[in-house]
């Protein structure tokens, strides 16, 4: 059994980790930390876990965590870069669901996250946990930077086209729509149901922290600088991301449907839909899956890719467990073979 610790277990990503890991056959949840709720039963806060998680929130402590084989961090940005090195030194693997190790360039990180990076020496070692790109590296990694939810949906939509040089790289547009759980479990007026229900808005159009992360992934796939516009939107639903990605086809782009099917044929968690499909976000509600459809409106030279994930699963906790499975030599799909909740 893998001894697992979860730091920051009271946010939506944390409870989603608990939901998945509590039923994972090879995992023992050893410690769940929360500063705010230390001393409370986990299932008092989350009654959906009653009978499945018999743990009590504790204060985070390096010694306690050192007894784990792997620790998941579902913490605010800026925490893991202060903690990871000590844990790694004691032989504990770290899977970071925050943004601390996603960007390779510490200056870019500092620009977008508003403070200097305090562990730049780990940035090179940290593996960006997108298995569809970095599977081999993940298997041998000690420190995983789990991708953001928007970056997961957009990169999976674009990788086949960029790798095949099927599109122009200077003007890619990603119009992405997210349910409100992406904003986390924080007491903020703009996330009240009275504010977000029955309404829709774009936000951070000027620039969003996931822009450099997406761009870094696309640049790497392209081997060159990519021009990307990214606009996130807040949708009146709880779970789900829908990326609508636009690019101009290059001269010799070939059969797009075949290109996507080929690229993802062996991927257990990327499902290319039949030609002409329009994925609903609900198809993947609660599961670690990305569904993709590719279109050419009016048979013109613009390609439109539709990509849906559950932001809390393939966009966060599920992908983190997928990484864990790889790191520990388990079957990649273990604990993750579930079916989306419809309706």
């Amino acid at each position: 059994m893998i001894r697992v610790g979860i730091v920051g277990g009271t946010g939506y990503t944390g409870v989603e980790l608990l939901r998945i890991l509590a039923l994972h056959p090879d995992v023992a949840i050893t410690i769940v930390t929360s500063r705010a709720d230390a001393g409370k039963r986990v299932d008092e806060l989350y009654p959906n876990l009653r009978g499945f998680v018999d743990a009590i929130f504790v204060e985070p402590s390096a010694d306690a965590l050192a007894g784990c084989d792997v620790v998941f961090f579902a913490t605010p940005n800026g925490t893991v870069m202060r903690t990871a090195e000590a844990l790694l030194a004691r032989g504990v693997k770290v899977i970071d669901l925050s943004a601390d190790f996603r960007l390779k360039n510490p200056d870019v990180w500092a620009h977008w996250y508003g403070e200097p990076h305090v562990s730049p020496q780990l940035l090179e070692e940290a593996v960006y946990g997108l298995p569809e790109v970095n599977r081999a590296l993940i298997r041998s990694a000690r420190l995983i930077a789990c991708p953001g939810c928007y970056p997961t949906s957009v990169q999976l939509a674009l990788l086949p086209l960029i790798e095949a040089r099927a599109i122009r790289l200077d003007r890619i547009i990603a119009d992405v729509k997210s349910g409100v759980s992406g904003a986390g479990r924080k007491a903020e007026i703009p996330m009240l149901m009275s504010e977000t229900g029955e309404s829709l808005k774009a936000y951070s159009v000027k620039g969003h922290r996931h822009w450099p992360e997406i761009k870094q992934g696309l640049d790497q796939a392209a081997g060159q600088d990519v021009g990307l516009t990214f606009v996130p939107h807040l949708i009146p639903m709880i779970r789900g991301i829908h990326a609508t990605v636009y690019a101009e086809l290059s001269a010799a782009h070939g059969d797009l449907q075949a290109l996507f099917e080929e690229r993802y044929r062996a991927e257990p968690f990327v499902d290319v839909l039949p030609a002409g499909s329009h994925p609903d976000t609900r198809n993947v509600r609660g599961v670690n899956r990305c569904q993709i459809a590719v279109h050419r409106p009016m048979d013109g030279n613009t390609v439109v890719i539709l990509s849906v994930i559950d932001n809390l699963v393939k966009g966060a906790a599920g992908q983190a467990v997928q990484n864990m499975n790889l790191m520990f030599g388990l079957e990649e799909t273990k604990g993750l073979r579930n079916i989306g909740l419809y309706p």
Copy 2:
């Protein structure tokens, strides 16, 4: 492996059966019928099932169904009473999710369902599939009448009190709220999102078909005639039922919290919450579980029971699989140990 057939696989109850049974380790889904969609792939209609259900809808046929060990009927009322006998005669067990065999008295059935019952001879044999009441009978049954969603939530709320003679029986009020999936997957204007979203209404206050079903169960538990008022409401959410049940305490009612905990201590799918709790329907979203809390407002002599289920799971497909597990000697929880999707 149990060879399973599903008749009427295109409604919400049908697809929910597929979601549960596709991951059940002892089940092989042998046949899925649908008149309207015969010839289509199941996962074309329900893309959440891609990779899990590799079946094609076929026309229902007695011969094909006769090859099954058990057939689930997720059909409109009036179908199973015309079909069950022939299947039973060929040694196939029948689990009926419609209302055809729920009421023991064929005259009452005819009154509420608008036509004579055509298989009254089976009414006595049919077992009402509420395991918390009829577990032993279910184990040996050939024909199960699965309870309705409202009746499941209300009976589980009241059984401990009635069995213990803790309440007066002449004036019980069940104010019950349901998500819209309870109305099924039918093209009807009142169920459009523009009609049901952001709004709330009571319906069928004059009299609802689940009233005689609930009353039959309560009468049986009480061993006498019970006075019941039942008002259903339509709530702007997809899944979930919340029953709020009111009754007057009798003189010697004892400790209510202990009464409920004791009654359901051994039940795998009924979870009595700590005193003072208020269950959210989301606690049980997607899972076969009833959560219950019991209150005495202002410490007076009115007891209020709060009972939540997922109408499609403990209120339909999950309970049907729980019945199947019992009928085939499997562990009762097999294929049903999941955790509610929060948020």
Copy 3:
């Protein structure tokens, strides 16, 4: 023109007052206060008001408010009882949307609101602003205590029956469902859309502050002590209250439909629906109206009354303006003749 001040203009009740008063032909909005947002343009916070409200939030100040003819308080409980006397002394009328002057007995107030009442001398003068009961008193009042949202819906549902002695008074049950805007515009985790969306729960079953307020109104109508159970529920929608009220009919109750129609025939804002109706809360979305239907399930001796309002309009800001119209001798419906937004 009536010079109007609004204290606490940043909550949902405050902005709803602004929406209504900005289009009221006899009103000039003179001052809008907010401690938290002083200095900001009102329409910066509420872009729906752009072009209609050209005001800036200011700090509350007695002198500034003294220049008004009437001041609406949309403040937290405990504010107005500390402020009202000084304003009244300077000739300013006060319409209080908080709970400070709703309960006549200061001990009861202290019990439910957790501190002693500091202006008990005003409790007798304050008029409970339910025009359907107190129209004459309101016309000459200086200080109005606007009813709570739940109490408005429940009292209007019961008044005809109680006044006509048509029901037993010892066991009335009010099962009431509210949209989330009733919780106000406060940064609290339980009111996030991820928490309240797609889910339903009861709350405060043990006892809710609106219970003594409803009971006081019913006691007064009955001329005796009434037995009331009140259970509020939180519904995944923004606006709307639906009260489902249960009572036992007394021997000589007469024609219930006629009773309700007669009682409310002259009321501009109470609409008794035809027999057999089930009101949707959306019928009254955004408008100062209560729609009511009365039923006898199974033609038995239980009466069920369905009553819907918009909690922010007839349950708060609209009713407050209705009171203002009466206090200033205007036509009662002025500024309030709007049509519910459907769909």
Copy 4:
């Protein structure tokens, strides 16, 4: 008083016309037709109209309609092109909310709407009812083709940029999100709340009927052929459209904020938000208003325009009444000065 007829009064556009016109001071609603509901009271179907609309649905008849000054058609496509000429010949003005007269080229119409246009002779006379473009023509028109909801939001977003030659015209992308009421009041499974709630999807990516309409408007503004990709999305909310429009800036584009403010300074129903704003669709819920914000992400050469309307008001019924006001020489804002419902 203008005698008004409404043909097709039972859809969402029809009832929205009724909501607006019932309170319009210069209008008398003379006739409301509905084949399906002839003989029923209008307010029986739409209880929000009780006390405001005292009409009964009648069968449509040319003679009855001939007594009107103007007839609004809220009918399915293909109806008005068969009816308009006869009415016009009898001196009745026609405001068509369907698509019959939106496209100037009958071959394009036939291609997208699947049948030949039967009144091509009227296509030239018909005025496209976008007052921000065609105000003068509307004033003297007999036949108005009201713009579609998507086309209204996209054209208002782009007109300032195209007229000022501020963008490249060969690759404009309009990613547009709509609430479900845009699909109308039709009994269709995909529009059930269980299907559209809590989920998001794109649709008609291959090609949508509003594409040629938008393109016609942009081509005309540009005086040349414009390259447009248009992808509509279905959002789990009832009302509201949010257009997110992307274009590449041309060399000399000037101050974008000033450009928009200048273009719409005199427009009563287009509201350019302060720089940096992100409009919520709820800002304009229930009102005839378009709110627009213009952004340059990362200060690059892509411009992003955010444009929100209520699809049933500025996208349909409200804009139709705005046209009527112009046609009859009334103040353009008459009956339309309302404030959006927040929250």
